[in-house]
């Protein structure tokens, strides 16, 4: 079983790679944007969850 020969033979394999990279990149951009937009007070409340027990 030659692993690399399968990958070469899949049509448009380069586009799949591009799509995966884009998903990866977009996910992280969105996540980091959301993380920095969320207000500090919410995070302070959440980080106290283990302590309020």
């Amino acid at each position: 079983m030659k692993f690399i020969h399968y990958i070469e033979k899949v049509s448009h394999i380069d586009i799949f790679g591009m799509i995966s990279l884009s998903i990866f990149f977009l996910f992280f951009v969105v996540m980091i944007t959301w993380v920095f937009k969320t207000n500090k007070k919410q995070f302070n409340e959440i980080s106290r969850i283990p302590l309020d027990n």
């Binding site: 079983m1 692993f3 399968y6 993380v35 980080s47 969850i49 283990p50």
Partner: protein, 710 residues
């Protein structure tokens, strides 16, 4: 809103806690025994079951799955209830989980010394146990997700995401690594072969580190550190970012175990790049942990729990810097196959995993017994013994790794190799002795902990069901017609099942076609399948765990090519189910062993390695000379190999044993010429056949005549 009264289940935590302590001692003792055998091979007591090759997997499985596994379950079940503000989903499932896991461990403890193994690191357990692991893991998952669904605290605190990521990914890893074809009740061959098997193995192995030894423990850190320090985590934002980055990036790092091997270059490069990127999210976790103690370092002086956690997190940071460095090809060229790898593993294992397990035990036991820790002083002594033990373990191993690697690569001014392989081993023997002293100190510290916890339990009163109350979660009502995804977000079970289905589809689409292709085009025409006798010999090689000391992968370095022969090509391993490239050279590489020694040399060497190699640290394998080869399995093995695509002729399984006995007789005759009497059906004959075959095929490649005009 009316508050509801409920009770946390401490009994299940206690059970897992006891199991943690027991297997901590068992696993560490196995490790110490293995360590002593390396410089004192007679410590194997000359039993097959207790040789290094069989004790090493016992040690790794006991530490990873029995010690860290039970500790993680204890900590997860303790923290999950309190973070979700609810009792565990099902008491019954909790206990099936507990007993199921311990039975698996007992199964491992019986099968591994018997030599029943898959020959794959950290995935040695035979296929019936693999099935049991899957079942128990599903039960754990139902309990985990059921509790999350039952929760009264709406927000899923960061620790819980780590637990979820652990569960999903370990399930995936276990399934893929366990894709094997049984040929008997206790034996199976990996569906993958050679290079593919190597990639699957180290995708699995590295992610076992990531998702069994790191993510659950990070989750535990995010709960127990704030609790012990009584302050919130430094930055919740950072925990979000590093969580997602960690689980995305970690998966790709596996190929860093295969640098400069026959793995294709593109895969090696991917592994390097992602391993280096991994520094960021790993250190995010470390910094988040350490910075949580900003302004509270005086507490660390007083509290043993915090002491252990600080060193644990620091060792985590060290190991996750060292790991990426070891993933650089230039560094890896020096470190691979040496004790540097072992040093690295044990900084993480002893420092991060061990100390975190100790910390949460020291935290939970007083709490669950309603008392204080019996002796802070004893705990502090444990801390110092453990810390010094880690240092005395690691430093000699760093030294040994560097020294051996430099010696391997040393040439005389005339251009010859300066040192015989054996010299490089005997030279570092004192360092092996030091290492076992370090490990022993660490173990003594653990015994102090057992005593301390025992006295704590004695002076307290166990709280089986801890009372708590909280308002139930407000069921969100749909205010107006909602976007479909918002509806899904309120139905976690549907969400979970849908996600799993999606992930499974992708996985299946990728994996199934690779098994349906029938043709197996060998890269190298002269590489042929193993003969039946060689196959039996190879399975004995796997059984005895020879790969734990001997590699079979000549790297394309000048010193290796001079010492061992032609460097290893991917095409040579296409019929190797499982691959046996190995990770360590306590003994020399065997990839080109075929034809280097006479049959009688091998016979004598197995009987007593020191008779052929004075000063050797290899144990004696006398039973190979006495045991009768079990030829009843030959037909089933050949059929299994045929299913896996190895091109034995159709119907060959029926006549395989005839060829086997033929070849065995000729080897026995060779031995007779050297005055060694051995029955043809002794196991040693099969092992000799295998050893004499390794790496020979490419030497037989016929010279192609120049094609003039066709």
């Amino acid at each position: 809103m009316q508050v509801e009264k409920f009770y946390y289940d401490n009994r299940i935590v206690r059970a897992f806690g006891y199991a943690t302590v027991i297997f901590a001692l068992v696993g560490m003792l196995a490790g110490l025994w293995a360590a002593i055998q390396i410089y004192y091979p007679a410590a194997s007591l000359n039993f097959a079951a207790t040789t290094f090759g069989r004790i090493r997997p016992l040690h790794t499985n006991a530490i990873i799955f029995a010690f860290v596994g039970n500790a993680s379950f204890a900590g997860i079940y303790y923290s999950l209830q309190r973070l979700c503000k609810t009792r565990l989903f099902s008491d019954k499932l909790s206990w099936i989980h507990f007993w199921g896991w311990q039975l698996i461990i007992v199964g491992a403890a019986i099968t591994l010394p018997l030599g029943l193994t898959n020959g794959a690191e950290y995935a040695e357990l035979i296929w019936p146990i693999d099935i049991a692991i899957a079942l128990v893991w599903v039960i754990f998952g139902i309990n985990l997700f059921g509790t999350i669904i039952k929760r009264r605290e709406k927000h899923l605190y960061v620790a819980i995401w780590f637990y979820i990521a652990t569960w999903i990914t370990v399930a995936l890893l276990h399934i893929v690594r366990s894709i094997e074809l049984p040929y008997s009740l206790t034996g199976s061959y990996s569906w993958f072969a050679g290079v593919q098997d190597a990639l699957v193995q180290w995708w699995y192995g590295h992610n076992a580190v990531a998702f069994f030894l790191t993510t659950p423990v990070l989750g535990l850190m995010y709960y127990f550190l704030p609790k012990a320090a009584n302050r919130p985590v430094y930055s919740y934002r950072l925990s979000i970012i590093h969580f997602w980055a960690l689980i995305f990036i970690y998966i790709w790092a596996g190929p860093h175990h295969l640098l400069y091997t026959a793995l294709p270059d593109w895969a090696q490069s991917l592994g390097v790049v992602f391993s280096v990127m991994l520094i960021a999210p790993s250190w995010g976790g470390m910094l988040n942990g350490l910075f949580t103690l900003r302004g509270a370092w005086d507490k660390v002086k007083e509290d043993p729990v915090l002491k252990f956690m600080v060193v644990a997190i620091t060792c985590y940071g060290m190991a996750t810097f060292e790991g990426p460095m070891l993933s650089l090809k230039s560094v890896n060229a020096i470190s691979h196959f040496t004790d540097w790898t072992i040093a690295h593993v044990h900084i993480g294992g002893l420092g991060w995993n061990g100390f975190m397990a100790f910390a949460i035990l020291y935290y939970m036991v007083p709490k669950m017994w309603g008392t204080n820790l019996y002796s802070k002083k004893l705990a502090a002594n444990h801390f110092w013994l453990g810390t010094i033990g880690i240092i005395i373990y690691a430093v000699p191993m760093y030294w040994a790794g560097f020294e051996q690697s430099i010696m391997w690569k040393s040439f005389t001014p005339e251009g010859q190799l300066k040192f015989q392989f054996l010299e490089t081993v005997t030279n570092i023997k004192p360092l092996y002795i030091l290492r076992s002293i370090g490990g022993a100190l660490y173990l003594v510290g653990a015994f102090l902990m057992v005593y301390n916890l025992y006295k704590t339990i004695r002076q307290g009163k166990f709280i089986a069901n801890e009372e708590a109350e909280a308002a139930p979660m407000i069921k969100e009502q749909a205010k107006k017609k909602e976007y479909w995804h918002r509806v899904l977000e309120r139905k976690p079970v549907a969400m979970l099942v849908l996600s799993l289905v999606l992930v499974a589809i992708g996985g299946l689409i990728e994996i199934i076609p690779t098994f349906l292709v029938k043709s197996n085009i060998p890269t190298i025409a002269s590489v042929k399948p193993y003969t039946p006798l060689e196959l039996q010999g190879r399975d004995i090689y796997v059984r005895e765990g020879c790969y734990t000391c001997h590699s079979q992968m000549v790297r394309p370095f000048r010193d290796e090519v001079v010492r061992y022969g032609e460097y290893s090509k991917a095409g040579e391993f296409v019929y190797d189910h499982p691959f046996q490239w190995g990770s360590k050279r306590t003994g020399p590489d065997l990839a080109r062993e075929g034809g280097k020694q006479t049959d009688s040399w091998h016979y004598n060497h197995m009987y007593d390695p020191r008779s052929m190699s004075p000063g050797s640290l290899m144990p004696q394998y006398v039973w190979l000379l006495d045991n009768k080869l079990d030829t009843s399995s030959t037909a089933a093995k050949i059929r299994a190999m045929q299913t896996l695509g190895v091109p034995y002729p159709k119907g060959y399984d029926k006549i395989a044993n005839t060829d086997l006995m033929h070849q065995a007789d000729s080897i026995a005759n060779n031995l007779k010429k050297d005055k060694i009497e051995s029955p043809s059906n002794a196991e040693i004959i099969a092992v000799i056949a295998y050893l004499q075959r390794i790496g020979k095929d490419i030497k037989a490649a016929p010279k192609q005549p120049m094609a003039v005009n066709q």
